[in-house]
C-alpha cells in the first residue's frame, strides 16, 4: 500500500481488544431520553483562524469539525459557467469504538452523500469557474455522524460568506430490529441494532436535499419516519441560526449607519 511507505511503519495487522472482551459488552439501551428526543447539541461557528469558514458541532458524544476553503481557482473543464463543490468527509482513526482504521476509502463515498445534500442549497452560478471545498472531520462517532456533518458543513459554508438559498439541517433516526418504535438521533449502539434513516432538509424552503435509509421498512413506516426526521431538523434549525448570528457578529463589525 503506497500509504505505508509514507507513514511510520507499524505492525502489519492488529485487532481491537473489544473482540476479546470478557464479559462481552452488553449494548446499553437508550438512557434518559424519549424516543423523539434528540441529544443535547453544542454548536460553534467561525472557530478556525485560517479557513474561510469553519464550524464545530457536538451532538451527544458525536463531535464533527468542518472547514471551508473559499472560492478558489478551478480549471473549469469546458465552458462550465457554474462553480463546483468538492466535499471530503473523513473519520479520525480513533473516532470509532471498534478497530483503529485509517480508512481513506469509505470517506470518498461519504463525501459524495454530503455533496448531494449540500449542493441543492448553494447558489453555485454566482461563482463561475471557481471551486468551493468542504473538509469535514469526525473526531468522535457516537452515532448519526453523517447528519451532524451535514449541518456542520452547511454552517461552515454560511460562515465563509458563500451565497446559499438556505442552511441545510441533518437528522437521523433508527428503528429497533423488531420493535416499531422510531428513535430520533440514535447513538452508536442503536444505530447498529436495526434500520436507520438519515435525512437533510432546507428548513425555510421545506425541501429535502438528502435522504438515505437502510434496513427493512414495512408499509408506511417509512413515511412516518420521514416526517419525524423533518421535525427533528426543524427543532435543530434555531440552534444553528443562533450560533451563526453570534459568529457573524463576532467576525464582522456592524456597518455604522452612514448618513447622507
Amino acid at each position: 500500500m503506497p500509504g505505508d511507505s509514507r507513514r511510520v511503519r507499524g505492525p502489519e495487522e492488529s485487532q481491537s481488544p473489544l473482540l476479546y472482551a470478557v464479559p462481552a459488552q452488553l449494548p446499553v439501551g437508550r438512557t434518559g431520553r424519549g424516543a423523539g428526543e434528540p441529544r443535547a447539541v453544542f454548536v460553534r461557528a467561525g472557530l478556525l483562524s485560517h479557513a474561510a469558514g469553519s464550524a464545530y458541532i457536538e451532538a451527544g458524544g458525536t463531535k464533527v469539525l468542518c472547514a471551508v476553503s473559499g472560492p478558489r481557482e478551478w480549471g473549469g473543464a469546458g465552458g462550465e459557467r457554474r462553480g463546483r463543490l468538492l466535499c471530503d468527509l473523513r473519520w479520525a482513526p480513533f473516532s470509532r469504538a471498534g478497530a483503529w482504521s485509517s480508512s481513506a476509502a469509505s470517506s470518498r463515498q461519504a463525501g459524495l452523500l454530503l455533496q448531494e445534500s449540500l449542493e441543492a442549497s448553494l447558489r453555485l452560478e454566482r461563482y463561475p469557474r471557481a471551486e468551493l471545498a468542504v473538509w469535514a472531520l469526525v473526531l468522535e462517532d457516537r452515532g448519526s455522524a453523517l447528519p451532524a456533518a451535514v449541518s456542520c458543513a452547511s454552517l461552515a459554508l454560511a460562515d465563509a460568506g458563500v451565497e446559499m438559498y438556505d442552511l441545510v439541517v441533518g437528522a437521523g433516526l433508527s428503528r429497533g430490529a423488531e420493535g416499531e418504535e422510531l428513535r430520533l438521533d440514535p447513538d452508536d449502539s442503536e444505530e447498529e441494532a436495526g434500520a436507520t434513516m438519515y435525512l437533510s432538509l432546507l428548513p425555510a424552503l421545506n425541501q429535502v436535499s438528502g435522504l438515505l435509509c437502510s434496513g427493512e421498512w414495512e408499509g408506511d413506516t417509512s413515511v412516518a419516519a420521514v416526517r419525524m426526521c423533518m421535525e427533528g431538523c426543524q427543532r435543530l434549525y434555531p440552534v444553528l441560526q443562533q450560533s451563526l448570528v453570534k459568529a457573524t457578529k463576532r467576525k464582522i463589525p456592524a456597518p455604522q449607519p452612514q448618513s447622507g
Partner: protein, 291 residues
C-alpha cells in the same frame, strides 16, 4: 451516470411532454421500456444473466466459492459485489472514470442486501465458524442507456435465481478432523430462494411529476431522483435520493407509493419470465450473443 448534454429547448420539450403524461418514446410516466432477460449465458459461472432495458445492457456472473465466514456472523455465508463500468459503455469510463460510479453502485447493492429478509444467508453456511459459501457477484456494464440501477438489480436477481450451488456433505472421520465432500452428480445442486430479493426502482423527478425508467435524455433534465429498493412483499429495504436538486416531502411520499406499486408488478412479471425460461429447460433456443 453517463450523461448527454441537452440544450435548454430540448429540456423544456421533455418537461412539457412529461407534464401531460406523454414521453418522447410514447410511454406513460410509469411504464418500463421493453425488458429482455436471459439466464445461463456464461458457461463457467455458477449462475449468470443478461438484462437489456432499452439501450442499457448489463451482464451479471455469480461465482460461488468456499470461504471462511466473517467474525461477526460465524453462522452465515455472504455476498461480495463488484461493478465494472467498462470503457465500451461510454468513453467517459475510460481509465479510472468508471471506478467512482462502479463503487457507488456496489455500495448501493451492499445496502439493499444488508438485511435479514432479502437473502437467506444461513443456507450458505456449511460449517459454522469454519466454512461457508461466498457468492462473488460481478456486474459488467456493456452499454449505458439510462436507468442503470434498475437494470443491474434485475440482472442480479435473475443471476441469483439461475445459480446452482453443488450440494456438500461434511464427513466426520475418526480423529475429528472434518472433511468436505462434493457431490459428483452435476444436477444434484442447491437453488437459492430469490423470492424476497429486492429490485431497485428509480423515480426521476422532471418538472412537477416523476417518471420511472428514465432514458439518458430524461435523466439529463431531471435534477433529483429517488432510488427505492422494494421486495416482492412490498417491504422497502433501501431508499436514497441522488442528484443535485432537492425534493419536497409530498412528492417523496407520492414517489414511494408509485415505486411500491411498480415494483410489485415488476417482481410478478420477472418471476414468471424466469420460471417460464426454467421450465423450457434444455430445448429453449438461445438468443444471447455469447453463444
Amino acid at each position: 451516470m453517463a450523461s448527454v448534454v441537452l440544450s435548454e429547448a430540448e429540456k423544456v420539450y421533455i418537461l412539457h411532454g412529461v407534464q401531460d403524461d406523454l414521453r418522447t418514446d410514447g410511454r406513460g410516466c410509469e411504464d418500463y421500456r421493453g425488458i429482455e432477460v436471459e439466464t445461463d449465458v456464461v458457461s463457467n459461472t455458477t449462475g449468470s444473466a443478461r438484462v437489456k432495458i432499452g439501450h442499457t445492457d448489463v451482464l451479471v456472473g455469480v461465482k460461488a466459492e468456499m470461504g471462511t465466514p466473517k467474525l461477526e456472523h460465524p453462522k452465515e455465508g455472504y455476498l461480495e459485489f463488484f461493478v465494472d463500468c467498462s470503457a465500451n459503455a461510454t468513453p467517459e469510463f475510460e481509465g479510472r472514470g468508471g471506478e467512482e460510479l462502479g463503487t457507488e453502485i456496489a455500495n448501493m447493492l451492499y445496502k439493499i442486501f444488508d438485511n435479514k429478509s432479502s437473502m437467506d444467508r444461513e443456507s450458505l453456511c456449511i460449517l459454522p465458524g469454519e466454512h461457508c459459501w461466498v457468492l462473488y457477484v460481478d456486474v459488467l456494464l456493456l452499454e449505458c442507456g439510462g436507468n442503470l440501477f434498475d437494470t443491474i438489480s434485475i440482472a442480479v436477481k435473475s443471476a441469483l435465481f439461475n445459480t446452482r450451488i453443488p450440494k456438500v456433505r461434511v464427513l466426520e472421520d475418526d480423529e475429528g478432523s472434518k472433511e468436505i465432500e462434493l457431490s459428483d452428480d452435476p444436477y444434484d445442486c442447491m437453488r437459492l430462494n430469490v423470492e424476497h430479493v429486492p429490485c431497485i426502482v428509480t423515480l426521476s423527478r422532471i418538472g412537477h411529476r416523476h417518471v420511472v425508467d428514465a432514458t439518458l435524455q430524461e435523466e439529463a433534465c431531471s435534477l433529483a431522483s429517488l432510488l427505492i429498493s422494494v421486495t416482492s412483499k412490498g417491504t422497502l429495504t433501501c431508499m436514497r435520493k441522488i442528484g443535485k436538486g432537492s425534493l419536497d416531502p409530498e412528492s417523496i411520499f407520492e414517489m414511494i407509493e408509485t415505486g411500491k406499486r411498480v415494483a410489485k408488478f415488476l417482481h410478478l412479471s420477472l418471476q414468471n419470465v424466469l420460471s417460464q425460461e426454467e421450465s423450457l429447460g434444455k430445448k429453449r433456443h438461445k438468443i444471447g450473443f455469447l453463444r
